[in-house]
C-alpha cells in the first residue's frame, strides 16, 4: 500500500542523506521525497511517499524514528489527510488543433498555461498524484517534451497538526 510519511527533521547539513541512506541501506523504496524549511527555521519538513506491506511500513517508521535528527513523524495515510503535488509539463503543440486540445485539457484539470512559444505550451498543474497521472494519460498522442513533478506534500485535515 502507498503511504505518505511526513517528517519534521533538524534543519542541519546531512540530515537528508541520513533519511535517503536509511532507505537504500534497508532496501525500502522511495516513490517521492520533498524537503524544505518550515515556519520554524530550525526544522525542515520532509514528505516521503513509499510503498510496502503494513509490516514494512511499520519498520520504516520505527527506523526513521531511530534517526537522531528526526524530531517527529506521522504517517498521513492513517487518517484523513490532504495531498498535493505540483507538475510542470512542456508540451509540443504542432498545430491549431493541438493548441485547442491542450488548452481544453488544461482547463478541465484546472491547470494553467504559464509559458507559450511558437510550438510549445508549458502547463502548471496541482492536485493529487493520481490527478496528475490522469492528465498525462489524457494527452494521448500529444507529445510531452519535458515533465517535472514536485513530489507529494501532505497535511492532516482539521485540528490535528504535526508539530513539536
Amino acid at each position: 500500500m502507498r503511504h505518505i510519511i511526513s517528517i519534521l527533521i533538524e534543519n542541519e547539513a546531512g540530515a537528508l542523506s541520513r533519511v535517503a541512506g536509511l532507505f537504500s541501506a534497508r532496501g525500502y523504496n522511495i516513490e517521492s521525497l520533498t524537503v524544505a524549511p518550515t515556519n520554524d527555521a530550525s526544522l525542515s519538513r520532509m514528505t516521503l511517499v513509499t510503498r510496502g506491506t503494513d509490516e514494512i511500513v511499520e519498520q520504516i517508521t520505527k527506523q526513521l524514528n531511530k534517526l537522531i535528527d528526526i524530531v517527529k513523524l506521522q504517517d498521513m495515510t492513517v487518517g484523513s489527510h490532504l495531498e498535493r503535488e505540483m507538475m510542470l509539463v512542456k508540451i509540443r503543440v504542432a498545430d491549431h488543433h493541438e493548441r485547442e486540445e491542450v488548452k481544453r485539457f488544461a482547463d478541465i484539470f484546472r491547470g494553467r498555461i504559464i509559458d507559450v512559444s511558437e510550438q510549445t505550451y508549458t502547463i502548471e498543474l496541482t492536485g493529487s498524484s493520481s490527478k496528475l497521472d490522469a492528465f498525462i494519460e489524457n494527452l494521448g498522442k500529444i507529445k510531452v517534451m519535458e515533465l517535472v513533478r514536485s513530489g507529494v506534500l501532505g497535511m492532516t485535515r482539521g485540528e490535528t497538526i504535526l508539530s513539536l
Partner: protein
C-alpha cells in the same frame, strides 16, 4: 580562560571520566596529540593499525560497560577505523570515535588525506557529528557520549577539522545535555508487563531466550533472580552468554546455528517464549517460517525497531531490560502469582531427555588435540574466571560452547558483524581496563593474522594476554561449509606457508609455545598463567577436520539439527 580546540578536547575527555584513549596520530590530529603530550591524566595507547584502536576500545567497553574512546587521523585513519565502528554498531557497543579532518576551508577539495568520514560512517554509527565551529566543540563531545551510552548503545563518530582544534574558545563542559529529537524509553509499559507476567503464569512449556541486551543493561542479577523464581529453562544467544551463570542447571546452553540440542528443541516446542534483549537474528531463528510454531511470544527490547522486525510478537515491551525485569520481579513475587508447576515439571522431563543426548560430547582418545578440549582445559585452569575474547569462526563457536561463562561481560566477541581480527585488539582493551585479570584470546591461525601487528602494542604496554590459537591449518568454518555443502571442494580455505608462531611471538619479545599433544595442554596453560609481563602465544595444533556440532544448516528450522 581561553583554550585551544585541542586542549578543550582533552579537557572534555577528562571531565567525561575517560581514562584510556586508543589511537594513532597523523597530520589532521597533531594539535590534539600535542595537547595530549602536555597532560598526564588521560592515558593514550598507541596501536599499530587504526582498526585495532576501535576493537581495543570496543573490548574495553564490553568488559567495563563504559564507553570506549578512539582517536584517529583523517582519510586512511578514518577508513581503517570503519570495520571496528561497524563491529561495535552491530553489537550495540557504546563507543566514541574522534576522527581528524582536513581544515574546514579545504573540506570538499579532495585535500591530502581527506575523506568524507561522516558520509562513510553514516550507515554504521548510531549518530555522527561534524564540528565546524570551536564554540560547539565541548557540547558536541558531551552529546556524543550521551547518545553513545543511552538507549540502545552504539558508536558515535565526531569529525574534527584541524583548524577547529587550533582555534581558541572559553572552556565549559556541560554536565547534562538533551536533544529534543532523542528521548529513549527506559520504563516499560506497566500494562504490557502485567500481560507478560500473566502469560508466564499460564505457560506449560515456557522458554526464556535472552541476548546481548541483558549484558549491556547490566541486568544479570535481575535476570538470574527472575529465572530462578520462575524455574523456567533459559537459553542465551552468542551475545548474551554470561548474563545467566552457564553452569546452572536451568541453563540449556547457547541456541541457534551452533546451539545445543536441548536449547533449540526447547525453542521449537515451547508454548510461551520470553525474549529479553535479543533480536531474533537469523543465526538464532534459522528458517523464520519454521520458528517457534506454537509459541506466544513476549519480547522485551529497548529498541522499538527490534520488535516485530523478524518475528511477529504477541506482547511487545519497549524498555530497558533492567527496569522491566525489576517490575516483573515485583509481580512475580506477589503471593497471587503462580506458575503451572505440574506442566512445567513435565516440560523439564522432556528437556532432560533432550539434554541426555549430550550433544557437545566429543572423542579425545587419540593423540591429536581436539579443539574443544583446549577450551575445556582453559575453563578448568582459569576456574571460569577469565575474560575470553575471540575472533570469528570455528574457534569462536567452540569457545562459546565449552567455556562456561559465569558472569556477564567476560565473553567478548564480534557476534553481529563477525569480524575476524577482533580478538587480539579487543583483549588488549580488556587487559588495559583490568590489568590484574586473566585475559585469553581464543583464536585461529587465520583470524589472528588479521591483526597480528598488535603483538607490538602488547609488548609496548606489557600486557600479559594469553593467545590460544586453535591451529588446524584451515579457515575452519569455511572448510566446514565446503565439506557439508560444496562436496569438499576446499576453495581457498587452506593456508600454505603459515608462519612459525613461536618464533613470531619471540621476535616481538613475547613467549611462544607450540603444543601438539593432548597430555601437554594443561601443564602448558598453567605455565602460561604464571607469565605476567608479556604475551604468551600458545599455538595448539589441533585436529584438522574437526567440525562444530550441532549445526542447523542455513534455511532449516531449529528442530532440524545436524548432530554429528
Amino acid at each position: 580562560m581561553e583554550l585551544t580546540g585541542a586542549e578543550i578536547f582533552v579537557r572534555c575527555l577528562i571531565d567525561e571520566g575517560v581514562d584510556s584513549l586508543f589511537g594513532y596520530p597523523g597530520g589532521a590530529v597533531l594539535h590534539i596529540y600535542d595537547a595530549l603530550y602536555r597532560q598526564d591524566k588521560l592515558k593514550h595507547f598507541l596501536v599499530r593499525h587504526e582498526q585495532a584502536a576501535t576493537h581495543a576500545a570496543d573490548g574495553y567497553a564490553r568488559a567495563t560497560g563504559k564507553p570506549g574512546v578512539v582517536l584517529v587521523t583523517s582519510g586512511p585513519g578514518a577508513t581503517n577505523a570503519v570495520t571496528g565502528i561497524a563491529t561495535a554498531h552491530l553489537d550495540s557497543i557504546p563507543m566514541v570515535v574522534f576522527t581528524g579532518q582536513v581544515p574546514t576551508s579545504l573540506i570538499g577539495n579532495d585535500a591530502f588525506q581527506e575523506v568524507d568520514s561522516i558520509g562513510i560512517t553514516r550507515p554504521c554509527v548510531k549518530h555522527n557529528f561534524l564540528v565546524k565551529d570551536i564554540k560547539d566543540l565541548a557540547k558536541t563531545i558531551k552529546l556524543a557520549f550521551y547518545v553513545a551510552t543511552t538507549g540502545r548503545p552504539g558508536p558515535v563518530v565526531v569529525d574534527l577539522p584541524k583548524d577547529v582544534t587550533a582555534q581558541r574558545a572559553n572552556y565549559y563542559y556541560p554536565t547534562k545535555v538533551s536533544l529534543r529529537s532523542y528521548n529513549p524509553v527506559v520504563k516499560g509499559h506497566i500494562g504490557q508487563i502485567k500481560r507478560a507476567v500473566q502469560m508466564m503464569s499460564e505457560a506449560r512449556r515456557p522458554m526464556l531466550y535472552t541476548g546481548g541486551g541483558a549484558v549491556l543493561d547490566n541486568a544479570s542479577e535481575e535476570l538470574t533472580e527472575l529465572t530462578r523464581l520462575l524455574g523456567f529453562p533459559i537459553t542465551q544467544t552468542l551475545m548474551g552468554l554470561g548474563a545467566y551463570p552457564s553452569p546452572d542447571p536451568l541453563f540449556l546452553g547457547m541456541l541457534g546455528m551452533h546451539g545445543t540440542y536441548e536449547a533449540n528443541l526447547g525453542m521449537h516446542n515451547c508454548d510461551v517464549l520470553i525474549a529479553i534483549g535479543a533480536r531474533f537474528d537469523d543465526r538464532v531463528t534459522g528458517n523464520i517460517e519454521k520458528f517457534c510454531p506454537n509459541a506466544r511470544i513476549i519480547h522485551l527490547d529497548i529498541d522499538p525497531s527490534s520488535i516485530s522486525k523478524n518475528v511477529k510478537v504477541d506482547v511487545p515491551i519497549v524498555g530497558s531490560v533492567k527496569s522491566v525485569l525489576t517490575e516483573m520481579l515485583k509481580l512475580v513475587k506477589k503471593s497471587s502469582f503462580s506458575t503451572d508447576k505440574q506442566a512445567v515439571a513435565e516440560w523439564w522431563t522432556q528437556i532432560e531427555e533432550w539434554r541426555s543426548m549430550d550433544c557437545l560430547k566429543y572423542d579425545q582418545t587419540g593423540d591429536i588435540i581436539k579443539p574443544q578440549m583446549v577450551v575445556e582445559k582453559l575453563y578448568e585452569v582459569t576456574e571460569g574466571e577469565a575474560f575470553v575474547t575471540s575472533d570469528v569462526g570455528q574457534h569462536q563457536m567452540w569457545a562459546a560452547q565449552y567455556y562456561k561463562f559465569n558472569k556477564p561481560r567476560r565473553w567478548i566477541n564480534s557476534g553481529g558483524l563477525g569480524t575476524m581480527g577482533f580478538g587480539l585488539p579487543a583483549a588488549m582493551g580488556v587487559q588495559i581496563a583490568y590489568p590484574d585479570a586473566t585475559v585469553a584470546c581464543i583464536t585461529g591461525e587465520g583470524s589472528i593474522q588479521m591483526n597480528i601487528q598488535e603483538l607490538s602494542t602488547l609488548k609496548q604496554y606489557g600486557l600479559p594476554i594469553k593467545v590460544i590459537t586453535l591451529n588446524n591449518g584451515y579457515l575452519g568454518m569455511v572448510r566446514q561449509w565446503q565439506e557439508f555443502f560444496y562436496d569438499k571442494r576446499y576453495a581457498m580455505s587452506y593456508m600454505e606457508s603459515l608462519p612459525d608462531f613461536v618464533k613470531l611471538a619471540e621476535s616481538y619479545g613475547h613467549v611462544g609455545m607450540l603444543i601438539d599433544k593432548p597430555g601437554d595442554i594443561e601443564a602448558a596453560m598453567r605455565e602460561a598463567m604464571k607469565i605476567r609481563d608479556r604475551v604468551v602465544f600458545m599455538d595448539f595444533l589441533t585436529d584438522r577436520e574437526e567440525n562444530v556440532y550441532p549445526m542447523i544448516p542455513a534455511g532449516a528450522g531449529q528442530n532440524e539439527m545436524i548432530l554429528v
